[in-house]
Amino acid sequence: MKALHQRQTIREVAIQMKKSWKSVLATVLAAALLAGCGANGGNSGGADSEAAASGSGGSGEAKNVTLKVFIGAPRFKEHFDKFIADFAAKEKAEKNINVSVQLEMPNPDNASQILKTRLASNDAPDIFALHAVNEIPSFYKAGYLEDLSDQPFVGKLLDSVKPSVTIDGKVVAVPLETLSWGYLYNKKIFADLGLTPPQTLTEMKAVVEKLKANNITPFLLSYKEAWIPQLFLPLAVGAIVNTENPDFIERMNKNEGSFSEMKAMFDIIDLVNANGTDKALEVGGDDGAAAFANGKAAMWVQGPWYAETILSANPDFEFGVAPLPINDNPDATMINLSTSTSLAVSPASKNKEVALDFINYVLDDKASNAFYQALKFNPVAKVHTFETYPWVNDAMAYVKEGKAYQDPSMPQSVKDEVGKGLQAYFAGQIGQDDVLSALDKAWKAFNKVNK
């Protein structure tokens, strides 16, 4: 009797469960449908792996930690996967922590957008990548960056790189990708004509004349995309700020300066524009890289980030990186040092200890060298001793002589404005003063918005 009763109860419960299962299932389905539409593909595996990680616990006293890492560079997935596996092994061996890393690598075009949405909705990844020069100031101001100044990796950073990840005297990110650039030149053309990279504007004019006398177009122009003419601004402002006008950016931030102080930058811009290839406004970056690789011009105001594209258009091509002369002061002819992709830690991270371990592991004495070499990044720390590309060596030679400066920190809106302004200037729609006053206006607007 008792057994029967029990069985009945069990059946009832089972039926009830079945019923409630149905409704639960329906709800879950509906929720999954909605969530599936909204969430991006890269994240869809998230919940599962987290559950799996916490479920597999129980072996010994090992702690389980799931680290969320967000890096908008899917082309490096293989390298990061390997590096993360090494890191997990190290944590297991040294601290007895089972680390499972949930690596999210969205397309770089919308990575920044996704990251911002995450941060704004309190769903911050433990570690995320951001652009050092462009994004650190606004992220720092919004309180999304952990202060890393007292971490061991800080001591290993090269002095030339450290300022780019420092804000308000605090180191807030570990740099991955750094750039040292000025303009690119065709080594073969220069060698054939016995030319060397000029150190002053006058010397540059002589080089241009000599190239023209030999029927070679001096400069490649590719102004279809506004960010390419924009490159003149960091080069010119960087050079002038680091020689004769050191407090320009500070004063601009206080609405006390004006770009009319920078009018001298049109000397080099006019020289380049007057001696360039045809139909500049129809040539984009990739087309420009192909044209440059095929020897259409001797110089290109562009950075070595196009190395891969150039070499894929012409694998035997040899090019060098040299500082662009702005005026007749040879000391102002310097390489621009900039940092792009960097890794930061979220202050909201629940696994901060492991996150900090990971950040330090990026510049680990043993592992870091091979990692940076595999990623084809430049050395950023004293632990990096690998052989670099010839064009990186070219630039590093200038850096070692002290002929380099930190990429000046200017608002993104000013950089956008100068790109558009120089396009219109090249098309003959506006004059020099119009470009400069538009820049003043853009910087004032930035100050107003970011009070």
């Binding site: 704004a120 992220f139 919004a142 129809e282």
Partner: protein, 320 residues
């Protein structure tokens, strides 16, 4: 049709009043039930519509009154300051507004005129009708952004090459680099891509023009042009209304063609409103609130203009 509808309606009334007399279910409840079932049927679509369109739209309207930058956790209400700034001080926005209006005028007229012309010509064919219909509709099946990249290649590489090989010197233009020419380049690509769709609508409408009316006009001695103007056009006014609505709406919201061809450049000379909004929100100072205000302005503009267009054109529609 109308008769059947009336009978149906009266049967419902009878039925419900019978219920009412029996005192089981009141009329209001019955009606309420009807609406519930109607709501249930539309719920799946409405839910998705609300979650992905209605709520974000209302959110955008809300943010248009703030100075939110898309990243900060806090923001302030600024009232109508964003709207005043957009229309008063922002010369780039006003320029993009005029540029868009110019584009809209050209697009609405040309797209409809060309589509109608092609539709009439295709309608006169007998056996090759399907072939031409497919050929002209084909560009519409390619996504706009891809077709604008394709045309970038045509404008920068193919046309100058042709100009070099043949003697057609006028083809060697700075098609997308010169602001006065690039407006027409944008038009060419938009038309190439958009005419096909309108063409299909016009074709369907032309096939619906009753044969007996045309024959009567022929017997009355009307010339082909008169037949077109006085018989065909009035009979396809409903299609014209739809096509004007679609082209007007689409032309105001143009983005991909300009983005793909010129990126709004050189400078801002070919910048349309949507590009200006995009730039404000995602690349300049990340002023989401301000960009939302600009979007609301665009929305109100489209709303008013299409409303006027529909109400004017609806009056002119006739039925056979």
């Amino acid at each position: 049709m109308e008769e059947r509808g009336r009978r149906f309606l009266s049967s419902i009334l009878l039925y419900s009043s019978a219920d009412f007399r029996r005192g089981e279910i009141g009329v209001p409840l019955k009606r309420y039930k009807k609406y519930v079932s109607l709501l249930m049927f539309t719920a799946p679509a409405f839910l998705l519509y609300a979650v992905f369109l209605l709520i974000p739209t209302l959110g955008g309207m809300f943010y248009s009154f703030t100075d939110w930058n898309g990243l900060n956790k806090s923001y302030h209400f600024v009232g109508f300051a964003n709207f005043a700034e957009a229309l008063g001080e922002d010369s780039d926005f006003v320029h993009s507004l005029w540029f868009t209006l110019k584009y809209v005028v050209f697009m609405v007229v040309l797209q409809n005129a060309i589509a109608l012309l092609l539709a009439v010509l295709i309608e006169t064919r007998t056996r090759s009708k399907g072939f031409f219909r497919t050929v002209f509709f084909m560009p519409n099946m390619i996504s706009i952004i891809i077709s604008s990249f394709m045309w970038t290649f045509v404008f920068t590489q193919v046309l100058p090459q042709i100009a070099e090989k043949t003697a057609l010197a006028f083809l060697d233009q700075s098609w997308i680099g010169n602001p006065s020419v690039s407006f027409y380049s944008i038009l060419i690509v938009s038309l190439w891509n958009g005419v096909g769709y309108m063409l299909i609508i016009y074709l369907a409408a032309l096939q619906g023009v009753p044969q007996h009316l045309k024959e009567a006009a022929v017997i009355d001695g009307a010339s082909p042009f008169q037949r077109f103007l006085h018989v065909t056009v009035p009979m396809i006014t409903h299609a014209i209304t739809i096509c004007f609505f679609l082209t007007l709406n689409g032309a105001f919201k143009v983005f991909e063609v300009v983005y793909g061809l010129t990126g709004g450049g050189p400078g801002r000379s070919t910048q349309v409103i949507t590009l200006n909004i995009y730039e404000e929100a995602f690349s300049n100072n990340f002023r989401y609130g301000y960009a939302s205000a600009k979007s609301v302005i665009l929305f109100v503009m489209i709303l008013i203009i299409t409303f006027i267009q529909i109400s004017v054109m609806k009056k002119r529609e006739v039925e056979a």
